[in-house]
């Protein structure tokens, strides 16, 4: 299915968030995730089913003031 990752359309085979992150190369990364604007804690990723057109945000530590 096609979903948006950080604003870019990607095709993924995974059906849940945890599998999608692994497929996209984020398996061991320090990240936080949101789907369609709602925070999905790390412990809930495997249970978070993805659907066509979902908007996924993958955020990581960055410089800030």
């Amino acid at each position: 299915m096609n979903i948006q990752i950080n604003g870019e359309w990607r095709e993924v085979r995974a059906a849940d968030l945890a599998a999608a992150l692994a497929e996209l190369g984020f398996a061991d990364a320090v990240i936080a995730t949101a789907v369609n604007g709602e925070f999905v804690p790390a412990a809930s990723r495997a249970a978070a089913a993805l659907a066509e057109g979902d908007r996924l945000e993958v955020l990581a530590p960055m410089q800030g003031g």
Binding site: N6, G25, F26, A29, A60, P61, Q63, G64, G65
Partner: protein, 257 residues
């Protein structure tokens, strides 16, 4: 010692991590500053680049406490969601709460700020709200559960120092027991010294250090100014006067006319 949400720190300089020429210079500046609290943020990560992972490893090696911000958020929902994500990534309940209301000045939307602070404090976050010097907003933030306030000196990144001395002095006088951190607009060490002389508990600095020609040297200069300003506050500065007062005693002056 400065106590922020039951955590004691020696340094009254909180340092931002953005806009340094390189990660190595960031590290040097942090060490030179003596800062024990660094602000950090969350941004989109590209799987191939992993810029965030590299940055986080540098910050972890510095062994300091981090204060994640909600920079770039314009609504209560964005700020609250960002705080949740930051708590998971950084493993801290501290959050520098920014809800921006206006692009030219980056002035906080204080109405949304108070609402977001109420939600986050109720959820157990320890909120450092980036606010203005407005007394009533400060009261509402304290009522919402904030135990630290971070008023701006002047707009973020402007380097104008303390724009509204009357308002900031009134804030200090009105909230004697609340740690007050001047969070924005500090341009040079004398601005920071002035904030500490007025009794503010700490300053948060980013651009003034990261955009200096020699960030590590400027960080050290800020550390000295902040230490001097704090000592001056504790020493009790004299009251200014409008007219001259001779410092040498007039009694016993020779008559030589």
């Amino acid at each position: 010692m400065l106590t922020l949400y039951d955590v004691s720190v020696r340094s009254r300089l909180l340092l931002g991590t953005a806009r340094y020429p390189s990660p190595a210079i960031l590290t040097e500046a942090v060490k030179a500053s003596g800062a024990q609290v660094l602000t950090v943020s969350l941004r989109r990560e590209a799987a191939g680049e992993r810029a965030g992972q590299a940055f986080w490893s540098i910050v972890r090696d510095l062994g300091v406490r981090v204060l994640p911000n909600t920079a770039g958020c314009h609504t209560v929902k964005e700020a609250v969601t960002t705080a949740h994500m930051a708590r998971e990534v950084f493993g801290t309940s501290w959050v520098k709460l920014e809800v921006i209301g206006e692009e030219d000045t980056l002035q906080p939307d204080v109405f949304a700020l108070v609402e977001a602070a109420r939600i986050l404090c109720a959820e157990g976050f320890e909120v450092f709200p980036y606010t203005t010097e407005d007394l009533i907003v400060a009261e509402r933030l304290c009522a919402a559960g904030c135990r630290v306030l971070m008023p701006w000196g002047s707009p973020i990144g402007s380097g104008h120092g303390l724009n509204n001395l009357f308002g900031l002095k009134a804030l200090r006088a009105r909230f004697p027991g609340v740690p007050l951190v001047i969070d924005a607009g500090i341009g040079v060490p004398s601005h920071a010294a002035q904030a500490l002389e007025l009794g503010f508990d700490a300053v948060l600095i980013n651009t003034a250090v990261s955009q200096a020609a020699d960030p590590a040297r400027m960080a050290a200069a800020f550390a000295q100014a902040i230490a001097a300003g704090r000592e001056a506050f504790l020493a009790g500065p004299m009251e200014p006067r409008d007219m001259a007062v001779p410092s040498t005693p007039a009694v016993g002056t020779a008559l030589l006319r």
